[in-house]
Every structure is written in C-alpha cells, then in structure tokens.
C-alpha cells in the first residue's frame, strides 16, 4: 500500500536522522584530537584522586616516585591494599580483598609492615621506582568521618605507609578532623557544589564549605595565589585510544576520550613553564556518567587558572564481560561494572600496581606527552 510505504520510508528517515544525531552529539563515538604538548616543567608533576581514583593516584605516585612530586589522596588509597601476594608474572590480587578489608572490614587489613614489604619487593624487581624517591614528596590524605564506602582506617594506614616508606612526617598531611569538611561522606569535598556534606551518594561530590582543591594543591606546591572567580581557560578533549595497548581502551577500562584543562597562561608559547596536576575521578564519576561535572565543578580549575597549573583528567570506563579482550572461565573476575580505576587487577592486569600496569602506563604516557618527555 502506498500510504503504508510512505509511512515506512518516513519512519526510516527519522530513525536515520536520530542515529546521525546520536553519533554527532553522543560524545563517546566522536573522535577527539591527539593530546598535545604544553609548556610544563616535568619536575612539577603531581597527582590526586578520589576513591578508586585515590587508589590509582597512590599507585601512580609510588610506581613513578622519581617523576611525581606529590599526591592528594581523597577517600581511598593504600598501596597494594587488594594484593595477596607477588609472583613472577605480577601481583595476585582479589576483588574480595578490595571490597572486604580495604573498604568495609578494616580489622582484616594487614599491618603496615606487609605493605612496606610488598613495595620493597616490587621495587627490587624493578617494577616500580625506588621508594627512596618518596622522601621529597608532599602528600595530602583525607577521609570524611561520615564515609560509609571506604573505611577511614584504610586511609589512616595509607598515611602510615607513606611515613614508613620514608616521607618525613611533616610532609604527610592527614586530614579527618578540625575542618569544615571533617563530617563528609564518601566524596570529593567542595566549597559550594554538590550533595549535602554527609552524603554517600552520586555524584560523590559534596558541599562541605571546604575547598579540598585548595588544600591538595597547597600541600603539593606550597602557598598559592587566590583562585579565579570563574575558570577562564579551555577544556581540551583528547583521544585516549592512542595511549592504550592496541588502542583497546574499553577492554582495559578506559574511555576513548580524556580531558585537559589549560589555563590561558599555559597555552603553547607561554613565557614561563607551568605545572601539571593529574586528577583521577572515582567509580561512577567518569564523563560517561557525570559528563562534564567532575572535570569542571570540583574547584581545581579555578586554582589552576591563577597558579599556572595544567590539569589532566584521564577517564576510566565501565567494562562488561562482552568488552573483555578474551572470554574464559575467569571473565567474571575481570569486569569493572562501575567504571573504577584498576586497583584490584581487573581486566587480567597483574601489573596494575606497577609501571608496567596498563592504566598506570597509559596515564604516565599522557603525562610525558603533555610535558614533552614522550612521543
């Protein structure tokens, strides 16, 4: 029938238009530009993160202690927390150690000596930089007293590990009380954006009248200029596939696109070199869930603007069984359903704690690209 046929054609045309529009505006499918080089001093690189991002920031810092001068660890982080043992091919880690002792049953955490020995073992194998480099680091660690996701004891132990690895006590700033953010739930804490202070819910950004970005950056870099009222730099979307082994971003828990914040004073051709700060989101906080909320609203860019800091926001990706590079009886153990950074060895990565780890390697390659040290 002609009417039916015309109706079918119109429906197909509308569907095609919708598909084109989805591909255009969807973000995930749109190819971003390669990450460029910026005038950054390679000796001024630091990292911070929240929750799984804090664990990854901690891993990146300890694995690359020769190249990273400080870290901000928020509501997460204890190097090797999910590790059971070390073998010739890498670290044997368990998801059940991550969700059990590391997050909710801290009485089962090992004594700090266990993590010191683990770190020494990995360094002796040449898999991480010598921990002696950490002595010059400045570290900020934070846990909210209302955190119901990652136990404050885990972060206390992370602080203790830093001291045991040779970071002088005055350079380890552990914050859990005597500040307006002390009562925070599991979150990156801000001065004026996000959930109520004691919330433990998405987007895991809480308004506690406490500027965590300020304290992280001041701990690492020393006194700073006051922040910009409104960020005036630009957000650059860049292609993360160029850094993943075989361009396999999804199978390794990475999104195709990452983001970089570039203050005007750090554009190519700037007279003075800038600093580079890497910020790692937590689970359920990547751009595929929060879009631009994390990399524009946590208060870091405003401080970066006035203090010559380029900010790198790599992005993780939630992996289902179907996205793994190979299917076998271990597939279920290799998924990452909440888009967390790899701190328990998912995707079959036994080197996740070390410089050979896929995600640690990818983020470090991005750092080298921005600073002009890599390809």
């Amino acid at each position: 029938m002609p009417i039916k046929s015309a109706y079918r054609s119109a429906r197909h045309a509308a569907l095609a238009l919708l598909l084109v529009a989805a591909a255009w505006f969807g973000g995930g499918a749109r190819a971003a530009d390669p990450l460029g080089r910026f005038p950054v001093d390679p000796a001024q690189v630091s990292v911070s993160g929240i929750s799984s991002g804090a664990f990854m920031a901690n891993q990146l810092h300890i694995a690359h202690s020769a190249g990273i001068i400080g870290a901000g660890i928020v509501a997460g982080g204890l190097y090797g927390c999910a590790a059971d043992s070390v073998a010739e091919d890498g670290v044997f880690a368990l998801a059940s150690l991550a969700v059990g002792p590391c997050m909710s049953v801290p009485t089962l955490l090992q004594p700090v000596d266990f993590y010191v020995r683990l770190t020494a073992d990995l360094a002796a194998r040449g898999w991480i930089d010598p921990p002696a480099n950490l002595a010059r680091s400045r570290v900020y660690l934070f846990t909210g007293q209302a955190d119901k996701v990652v136990s404050p004891k885990t972060i206390e132990l992370a602080a203790s590990l830093y001291r045991s690895l040779g970071v002088p006590a005055p350079q380890v700033k552990f914050r859990d009380q005597d500040l307006s953010g002390a009562g925070a739930g599991h979150s990156w804490v801000t001065k004026n954006f996000g959930n109520s202070c004691d919330a433990n819910a998405p987007p895991f950004i809480n308004d506690c009248r406490y500027d965590q970005a300020e304290e992280v950056l001041q701990t690492v870099y020393g006194p700073l200029q006051p922040p910009a009222v409104q960020s005036a730099g630009r957000i650059v979307a860049f292609d993360q596939t160029l850094f993943a082994p075989g361009k396999a971003t999804a199978a390794n828990g990475l999104l195709d696109t990452g983001y970089l914040y570039v203050p005007k004073a750090c554009e190519p051709g700037a007279a003075q070199p800038c600093r580079l700060h890497v910020v790692l989101h937590g689970c359920l906080q990547s751009a595929e869930v929060l879009r631009d909320e994390f990399y524009t609203k946590i208060g870091v860019n405003e401080w970066a603007d006035t203090n010559r800091i380029v900010v790198l926001y790599p992005q993780a990706h939630a992996i289902s069984v179907a996205e793994l590079s190979s299917q076998n009886f271990l597939s279920l153990f290799n998924t990452n359903l909440k888009g967390c950074w790899n701190w328990w060895g998912y995707a079959g990565d036994k080197q996740f704690l070390t410089k050979q780890g896929v995600q640690v390697g990818v983020i470090w390659s991005m750092v080298q690209r921005v600073t002009g040290q890599g390809n």
């Binding site: 043992s85 368990l94 998801a95 059940s96 059990g100 049953v105 009886f329």
Partner: protein, 152 residues
C-alpha cells in the same frame, strides 16, 4: 584402486599423530593438576592466616569485665559481635574467590586443551585419509557428480 602402501603410511601417520595428541593431553592434565594443587596451597595458607588473625585479634581485644556500666559492656559486646560477623563474611568471600579463581584456571587449561585436541584430531584425520576416499574406502565416483540430474 587404492595403493595399499599409502593406506599403511596413512595409518602409521595417524597413529603417531594420535600418540602426539595424547601426550599433549597428558601434559595439559599435569598442568591442570599443578594449578589445582597450587590453588589448594594458597587456599590453605589463607585459611591459616585467617585463623592466626582471629586469634591475634581476640588476644589483643581488651575484655573489660570490671566495668560497672552494664550498658557500655553490652554495647561493646554487640559491636564486637557485629565486627566478627563482618569479618567472617569477608573471609568467606576471600576464600570463595580464591577457590573460584583456582577452579576457573584449571577449567581454562582443560578447555583450551580439549579445543586444541579436537582441531589436531581433525587435522590428523585429514592428513591420514586421502581426499578421494569415501567412507566405505572406495574411490569416489567423480563422474557421477557430473551426470545430468534430470531427463529434461
């Protein structure tokens, strides 16, 4: 007619191929057994650590029986019980994951070998039996396939 020497050669090749397949099967079973033993060893070690940890915590836990505040004592006991329940659950999850991973590794080794053995067996058969021999052992009448299929 089929050359009998070819059949003997083919049969001998098939026999040696089958021996090779069987040797590799045995090697896979040995690897699987080794993985299973390693898994059991890791599991046993973890169980020992769990018992040691439980004993260590129970010894280090101050038992305040002298307190006169009955509510504080009961509250403390309840918190201890809750902690113990959570610890048991976490330990159970850890042991389950270790056992499941170990079983999965064994299953992966065996399944990979079974798949490979099937491919090898297929290749050995193709190698041993000439292409033009039918199931009954006679040369396939090639001309038959070229005959007209209908009278029209």
């Amino acid at each position: 007619m089929v050359d009998p020497s070819q059949s003997i050669d083919g049969g001998f090749n098939l026999f040696t191929d089958l021996i090779g397949i069987q040797m590799r099967n045995m090697e896979a079973v040995r690897q699987a057994q080794q993985k299973m033993l390693e898994g059991m060893g890791v599991l046993a070690k973890r169980q020992t650590e769990i018992i040691e940890g439980t004993l260590r915590r129970s010894v280090s836990e101050p038992l305040d029986v002298t307190s006169t505040d009955i509510r504080a004592v009961v509250s403390h006991q309840i918190e201890s019980l809750k902690t113990t329940i959570l610890e048991n659950q976490a330990n159970s999850n850890i042991l389950s994951e270790m056992a499941a991973r170990s079983s999965a590794e064994v299953a992966n080794i065996l399944q990979s070998r079974v798949m490979a053995a099937l491919d090898e067996f297929k290749a050995a058969l193709e190698h041993a039996i000439p292409e033009k021999i039918s199931v009954a052992g006679s040369v396939a009448p090639a001309a038959v396939t070229a005959q007209p299929t209908s009278r029209s």
